[in-house]
């Protein structure tokens, strides 16, 4: 009972903090928007090269799922900074001397992170729609898509939270987050299909969790004709993406919970 209500109140608090700092929200959206506009322009002609990209889809249609995931991924990797802030400001201690449910502190934070990613994803989707992107699976598809992106973000925010709890340094969280984002992004199918990669990179991409999540989102957004061209299947890829995300979530959130308990007691 207190887990649910404590989580709710802490979720609302975190949400208010996000909404009252719209500048932060704006800047975290800047990067995906630049990606969306510039990359799709820059690479628009590559998509027409036969053999590299499946025929019949534009680069915008190919890359938007990747940009959505990139945004969820890099937002999640920053979520540890808020925990550092709570630790260093004394807010965490202030909560810990109350009877608040310990897990609710973490859950409220994770849920608000997920909510933020969903809001950002909707903004990106609207922008992409204006540029000519569409979701083949319709409104239901968009919902499933948002769920995948949010869960994918949650799974990775565990890593960031663990680093934050361990180092108590926002700089370290930012540094490691930035260090992880780009290699993982470029060595995935987010922006370029495996067929256009050198062999070793294709191998990395095939085990890269971002590729799995992106494939699942593409399974929803692309028409079935394009899916076969990419070697994807619907809904098989969505299920395997969920399995992959769940595995990562168990590992990273487990580690976070362990570290959090250590800090708390």
């Amino acid at each position: 009972m207190s887990l649910a209500s404590d989580t709710y109140h802490l979720f609302i608090r975190a949400l208010k903090k996000v909404l009252r700092n719209p500048i932060l929200l704006f800047f975290s959206l800047l990067q995906p928007i630049i990606f969306l506009v510039l990359f799709t322009q820059l690479f628009s002609k590559f998509a027409a090269v036969p053999g590299l990209f499946p025929s019949g889809i534009t680069y915008l249609e190919y890359a938007t799922p990747g940009i959505l995931l990139q945004n969820g991924f890099s937002s999640a990797l920053q979520s540890g900074t808020s925990v550092v802030d709570e630790l260093n400001s004394g807010m965490l201690e202030k909560m810990l001397v109350t009877p608040v449910n310990r897990s609710a502190i973490l859950l409220g934070r994770l849920l608000s992170d997920a909510f933020r990613v969903v809001v950002q994803s909707v903004i990106i989707l609207v922008l992409a729609y204006i540029l000519g992107f569409d979701v083949a699976a319709g409104a239901g598809g968009i919902l499933v898509m948002l769920v995948i992106i949010a869960f994918f973000g949650l799974a990775w925010s565990g890593i960031s939270l663990a680093i934050g709890l361990r180092t108590r340094s926002a700089e370290t969280v930012f540094g490691i987050g930035g260090f992880l984002t780009f290699p993982l992004l470029f060595m995935s199918t987010a922006l370029v299909p495996v067929s256009a990669m050198p062999g070793w990179m294709a191998n990395v991409s095939n085990i890269n969790p971002i590729s799995y999540a992106v494939n699942a989102v593409r399974g929803l957004s692309l028409p079935s004709s394009a899916l076969t061209g990419l070697g994807l299947s619907f809904p098989g890829d969505i299920l395997s993406a969920f399995a992959y995300i769940a595995t990562i979530a168990v590992l990273t959130l487990g580690a976070t919970l362990y570290l959090f308990r250590k800090v708390v007691t």
Partner: protein, 341 residues
């Protein structure tokens, strides 16, 4: 009546080997205004952290509000209110939202909580800014909000870790006022730590003086001062730049005088204790003069808690140094001191 807080043999050793608290025992009675007075690093905050379930002790038997600290920390958390040394409020929430959140975390809600929050906002005098973001408040207002949020759930026991450090004189006086009122009218037991003697003197019914993790003296402020048993005479030698050799000579001269109980080295000179300071001062001045010891200034005062500390540890409480003169002559000296952040 049984003790609300009972501490036996508390030891806290940090992982780097620092012994922050080195075997202390004390008890706090219900309804009491109880204080820990000591300089920075004496072990005050560490003790509060242990009592409020934030920090694990190394050894010792502790009960708070009847609960064993090891076995039932959650029982303790329900009945205590805590204000930590650093003001902790959420700058993005309004004052009211800060208070409401604190109430929710204590499982209070609805009309009951709303009423209580209004009441407290009025009590600490921030009702008019309650719906503004707390980040925009002045330092004193933030501190008052922090204090109010520690009271939302009507705690039986209130822990205050240096509640007025860094505050301007008006805010400090206001906080003193609320605290006395809370203790007197609502019967809340208060455990306070401070490095300000005036604060301890004014508020606390019983006082433990703590230094380097050990209790060096305890009693009511009056009895502690009475123990000193004499007025203090503070002398500065050679404009406060006297070397050890001059101080030694001065000691010898003072030792030959009648009516002096105790000679303690203090910054820039010496402090002595005498039953009748007014008479002794004349003797001191004459004796120093004939021995060619350059006496720059001399003052005397009835005993303060600083003298208690000085007698037990041979040092003054560091933070009071800037204003020892003012403090020795005025009971409210600290209230007029410019704030240092």
């Amino acid at each position: 009546m049984s003790d609300v807080i009972s501490v036996e043999g508390l030891v806290v050793v940090y992982s780097d080997g620092t012994k922050a608290v080195n075997g202390i025992d004390f008890g706090v009675k219900e309804g009491e205004f109880f204080g820990f007075l000591g300089p920075n690093g004496a072990g005050k905050s560490t003790t509060i952290k242990v009592l409020t379930t934030l920090l694990k002790r190394t050894a010792g038997k502790i009960t708070v509000a009847g609960f064993d600290i090891e076995k039932h920390p959650e029982g303790i958390r329900k009945v205590i209110g805590v204000q930590s040394q650093d003001t902790v409020i959420d700058p993005d929430l309004t004052g009211r939202e800060n208070m409401m959140l604190q109430g929710h975390l204590h499982q209070i809600g609805g009309e009951e909580l709303k009423k209580r929050v209004d009441e407290l906002l009025n009590l600490v005098g921030i009702a008019d800014v309650a719906d503004r973001r707390a980040g925009h408040y002045s330092g004193g207002m933030k501190k008052r909000l922090d204090l109010a949020s520690a009271l939302v759930h009507k705690p039986k026991l209130l822990f205050l870790d240096e509640p007025t450090t860094g505050l301007d004189p008006q805010s400090r006086a206001a906080i003193w006022e609320y605290l006395s009122k809370l203790n007197r009218e609502e019967g809340i037991t208060i455990f306070l730590t401070t490095q300000y003697m005036e604060e301890a003197d004014r508020l606390c019914q019983r006082l433990f003086i703590i230094d380097q993790g050990k209790i060096v003296a305890n009693g009511t402020p009056e009895s502690l001062k009475r123990e000193v048993g004499a007025d203090s005479i503070t002398m500065t030698l050679e404009n406060g730049e006297a070397g050890p050799e001059t101080k030694d000579r001065a000691r010898q001269v003072l030792g030959r005088l009648e009516g002096i109980n105790k000679i303690i080295e203090s910054d820039g000179g010496l402090t002595v204790y005498a039953k009748n300071a007014g008479l002794v001062i004349a003797d001191i001045v004459r004796a120093f003069d004939s021995n060619k010891i350059h006496l720059s200034s001399v003052s005397f005062a009835s005993p303060t808690l600083d003298d208690v500390f000085l007698q037990h540890t041979g040092r003054r409480i560091r933070t009071e140094e800037l204003n020892t003169k003012q403090a020795t002559f005025s009971r409210f000296g600290a209230a007029r001191r410019p704030t240092r952040q």
